[in-house]
């Protein structure tokens, strides 16, 4: 399981990376916005994408849409971990095809639950 973590703040990437490692996911890579993440996704055999929303350059919602529009990537599970907390934003992300949505600040338990739920649903 190879996971790409996309967030413009290295601190948040590191927190997510450590939480994922705790959950047994040790194969992770990082990118600091959508425009650096997309080429990595296109060339890197990633299985799962965890992305923030608010980033300079290409935002997480744009990345989400770009992934869904890419024939080879469109089925990749995507979890948004973001401080964006407006209802219309969550609806927007859902309509764009996000698989899970976690609002910051979040706990390790919530992240675990959402990731497990995504894989449970994919497995069924």
């Amino acid at each position: 399981m190879k996971i790409l973590i996309v967030d413009d703040f290295s601190t948040m990437r590191r927190i997510i990376k450590n939480l994922l490692r705790d959950l047994g996911f040790t194969n992770t890579a990082e990118a600091d916005d959508g425009s650096t993440a997309l080429p990595l996704l296109q060339n890197g055999n990633f299985d799962f994408l965890v992305t923030d929303w608010n980033m300079p350059g290409m935002t997480g919602i744009e990345l989400l849409k770009a992934v869904r529009a890419d024939d080879r990537l469109k089925d990749m599970p995507i979890l948004m971990v973001t401080a964006e907390a407006k209802r219309e934003q969550i609806v927007e992300a859902a309509q764009a095809g996000v698989n899970g949505y976690v609002v910051k600040p979040f706990t390790a338990a919530v992240l675990k639950e959402k990731i497990e739920k995504i894989f449970e649903r994919l497995g069924s």
Partner: protein, 276 residues
């Protein structure tokens, strides 16, 4: 001419109204004079009365324009955010605008919080393997210790256990002091809260200051518009920037707002209502 002469001007600009009422009464006097001249049929008197009336009106406008120009100038000078305020006139900072200064301050906040977060996570990342090793070694010792208590151990195994217990005692002592040291480092790394708090307060002060000056500038500009007769149509309010539904807004400070979720449970409810 004085306070007794109450005109029905708005009371909001009281300082002006005394001067204004004297101007008004001058205009009234001249107008009465004009009517008198008209009624008496003195055409040259009428002309000079009209001229006097014109003069009085012009003088009035020049005075007002002068006053407003001064006000506007002062407001603009006050709005100049270069240097003077933050550092108490320190020459070295004169070249730097307060806005740049505020940006630097906020960058400093980001740097400090980043450093603190990195330091804390360094300590945690180094500490977790130590804790894990402590747990694993004590667990494995416990298994053998229980075998010893049940007298299931041969002398060779006992000698090995004896040595391992000795090593473990040394290791656990060293590890505890190492962990305490890391915990102390984490504790000290929290000093950013104090430092960033102070810096953010100063930036808040600057923003408030800018707001006050902007309001003053708007007030003076409004008087200029009034005098020059610039009218803003109420039907055409300035274009408000509509927030695009997909634009990022950063953390919501007020989660009580109706269009903002109050937490993860709210997110989950919303998503499940959408069929998730």
């Amino acid at each position: 001419m004085t306070e007794t002469d109450h005109s029905d001007m708005s009371s909001s600009d009281q300082p002006e109204s005394a001067a204004q009422s004297s101007d008004w009464s001058e205009l009234k006097d001249r107008a009465r004079n004009l009517v008198d001249q008209l009624e008496s049929g003195d055409s040259s008197g009428v002309h000079s009365a009209i001229e006097e009336l014109n003069e009085a009106r012009d003088r009035n406008i020049y005075l007002e324009v002068g006053k407003l120009t001064r006000g506007l100038h002062e407001a603009i000078v006050n709005f100049d955010l270069t240097g003077s305020m933050t550092t108490g006139g320190d020459d070295s900072d004169k070249n730097e605008s307060q806005m740049t200064n505020a940006q630097d301050r906020l960058d400093y906040v980001i740097n400090l919080t980043q450093t603190a977060a990195d330091k804390t996570m360094d300590m945690v990342e180094e500490g977790i393997p130590i804790a894990t090793e402590l747990r694993e070694r004590s667990q494995s010792l416990k298994v053998d210790w229980e075998r010893l208590q049940r007298r299931e151990m041969d002398p060779d195994e006992f000698r090995d256990l004896y040595k391992r217990i000795d090593q473990f005692l040394v290791f656990s002592g060293d590890s505890s002091s190492e962990l305490s040291e890391k915990l102390n480092t984490i504790l000290l790394a929290q000093d950013f809260q104090d430092l960033t708090g102070q810096v953010i307060k100063r930036v808040i002060n600057l923003v408030q200051d800018v707001e006050e000056r902007l309001v003053e500038l708007m007030r003076v500009a409004g008087q200029v518009e009034e005098l020059t007769g610039i009218v803003h149509s109420k039907d055409n309010p300035p274009m408000r920037k509509e927030a695009s539904p997909i634009a990022a807004e950063g953390p919501q400070i007020d989660t009580d707002k109706e269009d903002v979720v109050s937490g993860q449970d709210d997110v989950d409810d919303l998503l499940s209502s959408l069929g998730f």
